[in-house]
Symmetry: C2
Subunit: 473 residues, 2 copies
């Protein structure tokens, strides 16, 4: 190799290298300047430049890029992607964005990409296809690939069956460590691309235990698998993915065997699939608390408007209900308009204090830190906190009212309404999610509406009611 040659190579490699550095900002997110470069190249129809830019990206960053582009720019880029690039990028996408991207991919190219993906990821993508395109794509695939995708799709969405990959490393209990290593080295046909454990199975293919690869490597080649294996947590194929994530998190699992009803091994779930599930499930809870059912980054404005409309409509209903409570005391307000000024404060504080309690309860239910064993203690603790903060804020509120309106009786009433509402907020904040959970509903999804209905009505009623009773009689 001559120096000139070396120089040439370095010269050729440099631009790609530079682009890779430029692609990510310091926080490992895609660099806005890089997105700008892609947009410019797409606008100019410079396909050579686009290819260069695409090749500088990791598949996860390419997926991010697609999310940042407008649909007209996606229309230029997606058809340029090779089957290889698609196979790695499609599994990084989800929701409406993935559906948009899939519409831009030619069926034969997609069939090729799916053949290169793991069975669980491929099934997810096929599930997102529209019916006619699905038929076309499946027809263009090899029989083996099509069968493995169809079998994955036979399991319900969000279950272990859909998360698992069918490829596993399993070995009979009478094998030695050396035999197992040899089996892998000779390239058994059903081996997954990446694996972390060997599952030891009985003659009916039921898991008896597992050995991490690092344990395998450390053991004497003569050791029997049945001697070194560790107990294993089996995942039933129909288990909900939230449950699977809970088990992985709790027992720090890296991979786990999935078994069908008879106990036979049918696949494995690995922790990298679970990290995504954990992200999704806690995000779902957080969005549900705010009344957002779905947040597709690439959803249309009309779609977003519609999805948020229903939650707001329910909230309008509860706001009107609370206003009806004020309406009952319209006569009192006509006599003393100052009541209308102070009236919203206790209600607002109840809503905030109740939301604190409720959020903690929803999280504790999700992480199973709240159950029958500590239920009474938890309820009692929340009520005690409500009483203590209630008394504290009753005093503050009383002082504020006295300073503002120089009316000691109204000050006492404002304080009383505050303590009543903060105690009610604490009780409602813990009992509403518990009740919804007990009845089989998602405690995150609808509890805030119930809570604010209670705290608004009680807040308004206790203040205006006491004022009418004491102040205006």
């Amino acid at each position: 190799m001559t120096p000139a040659n070396d120089g040439l190579k370095a010269g050729q490699a440099a631009p790609a290298e530079d682009l890779e550095d430029l692609a990510l900002s310091d926080d490992y997110a895609l660099n806005p300047a890089f997105v700008e470069m892609v947009v410019d190249a797409a606008d100019q129809g410079n396909l050579v430049r686009l290819r260069e830019l695409i090749e500088a990206l990791h598949p996860a960053d390419l997926a991010d890029l697609l999310g940042f582009l407008s649909s007209s720019h996606r229309e230029v880029i997606v058809p340029m992607l090779t089957a290889d690039e698609l196979s790695e990028t499609l599994s990084e996408l989800d929701g409406p964005l993935r559906e948009d991207v899939l519409e831009l991919v030619a069926p034969e190219n997609l069939a090729k990409a799916l053949g290169e993906m793991e069975s669980d990821d491929a099934a997810d993508v096929v599930d997102d296809l529209e019916d006619d395109k699905r038929g076309e794509v499946l027809a263009a695939m090899s029989d083996a690939d099509r069968i493995s995708i169809e079998s994955a799709l036979s399991y319900a969405d969000e279950t272990a069956g859909r998360l698992m990959q069918r490829e596993v490393l399993a070995a009979p209990q009478f094998w030695t460590v050396g035999q197992t290593i040899q089996h892998v080295q000779s390239g058994g046909d059903d081996l997954p691309e990446l694996f972390f454990d060997v599952y030891i199975v009985d003659p009916s293919n039921r898991p008896l235990g597992a050995a991490p690869l690092s344990l395998l490597l450390r053991s004497s080649p003569d050791a029997l698998l049945s001697r070194i294996m560790e107990p294993v947590t089996e995942i039933p194929v129909d288990m909900d993915q939230e449950e699977v994530a809970y088990i992985f998190d709790k027992y720090h699992l890296i991979s786990a065997p999935v078994v069908e009803a008879g106990g036979r091994l049918v696949g494995q779930i690995t922790v990298d699939d679970i990290v995504g599930v954990i992200q999704d499930e806690s995000e779902e809870d957080m969005l549900a608390l705010a009344g957002v059912s779905d947040r597709g980054r690439s959803d249309t404005i009309m779609g977003i408007t519609r999805s948020r409309f229903w939650w707001l409509l329910i909230n309008l209903g509860t706001a009107i209900l609370a206003s009806c409570v004020i309406g009952v005391f319209q006569g009192s307000i006509a006599k003393l308009a100052a009541l209308a000024v102070i009236n919203p404060i206790a209600a607002s504080m109840g809503g905030n204090a109740g939301t604190q309690t409720l959020t903690v309860a929803v999280r504790a239910l999700a992480t199973r830190e709240l159950n029958a064993a500590n239920l009474l203690m938890a309820v009692w603790r929340e009520i005690a906190v409500g009483v203590m903060n209630g008394v504290a804020f009753a005093i503050v509120m009383g002082v504020v009212t006295e300073v503002w309106f120089h009316n000691p009786i109204m000050a006492v009433i404002a304080g009383l309404a505050m303590v009543i509402n903060l105690i009610v907020a604490a009780i409602a904040g813990i009992l509403i999610p518990l009740g919804l959970d007990k009845m089989g509903f998602d405690p995150a999804a609808s509890s805030v509406v119930f809570l604010t209905t209670v705290t608004d009505c009680v807040g308004f009623f206790s203040f205006l009611g006491l004022a009418t009773l004491i102040l205006l009689h």
Copy 2:
């Protein structure tokens, strides 16, 4: 082995087996009936029974059990735990509960337990000890264990340095696969108990690449590591754990090498540590949105009251500010009390709509789906959604007001206030978290206060202001 012997063994094993089945309910959470059995045994001082019950539990479930018990029952159980049990259970605990448990453990026993833990977990525990006990415990440990803990503690909390374990499998680039496997089989001294990748390093111990164990097993024993290795993502030792979690999630990493400023390998982070971080970080965001800074299951009532007090006090301030807006229009309310009845509705709707926008924005910032590249598009989309839902609810609100009060002018005003506040809510809902993030604050932590201040004040002002201007002139 005689049949009698066999029978005896089965007989002895049976109760333990039964207890294990009983310990968990169908959802893999600790069974309340089992907790009850522990409480009964502790009340009776039946230590033999307690030992039986403890031994039926996985360390993660033992940790859960400690969380469900009152402190008087913990005082019975914790001193019974062996160093082995402690070493596996302590890393499953955190927060005030772990501090409580640690107070009940004798220093020598704790020193022994720490010696058996991984360096990152042990450092975390030592960090939770009170100063005088920490000295006692460190003094009781072996020099090697103490030095490794002290070195872990030299990194800041919530950084890669604290998450990592120092034990790694590293190999020079000129080794073959066979040499590497032999090195592991001969039990290199610094090997971690469980590992997933071998890091290939240069003579200065800087990572050049990595090979998953499954790749190692599949490769020919003669292959050079430098030939089979894959590119590796290095984690700087001072990187924030949230950033580390983002990288693991984005690139589906199972383990990653941690490097110090000079680029030298100092440890590794594995995905099982990251699953906990991801749970914690998204939980933190969710709780911060509701104004809960910390939720120790075992925190005292006084502690919880105090931690929630400050958020409520800030909310009281904003509620009073909003009431001042009503106070400005006290004269109008005195003339027409119906205004006070309708007044809270637009403000409440603005708060809810703004929270929807805000929650989506906080999530998008956390997952880095929102950045300079799509900022304008996101802001524009939220405003468009605000306008559309604003118009829709203005119509609903107008109709409701007309039906209720038979006052067409008030109906128009109520509708106008609604559309104004929903548009303002959309703008505030996206700009407030973006602004906080830009200024380096946590967008989840304080954005709701700012938002509701805006939506309450604008809601009250637009309705009462328009009514004063149009209706009462």
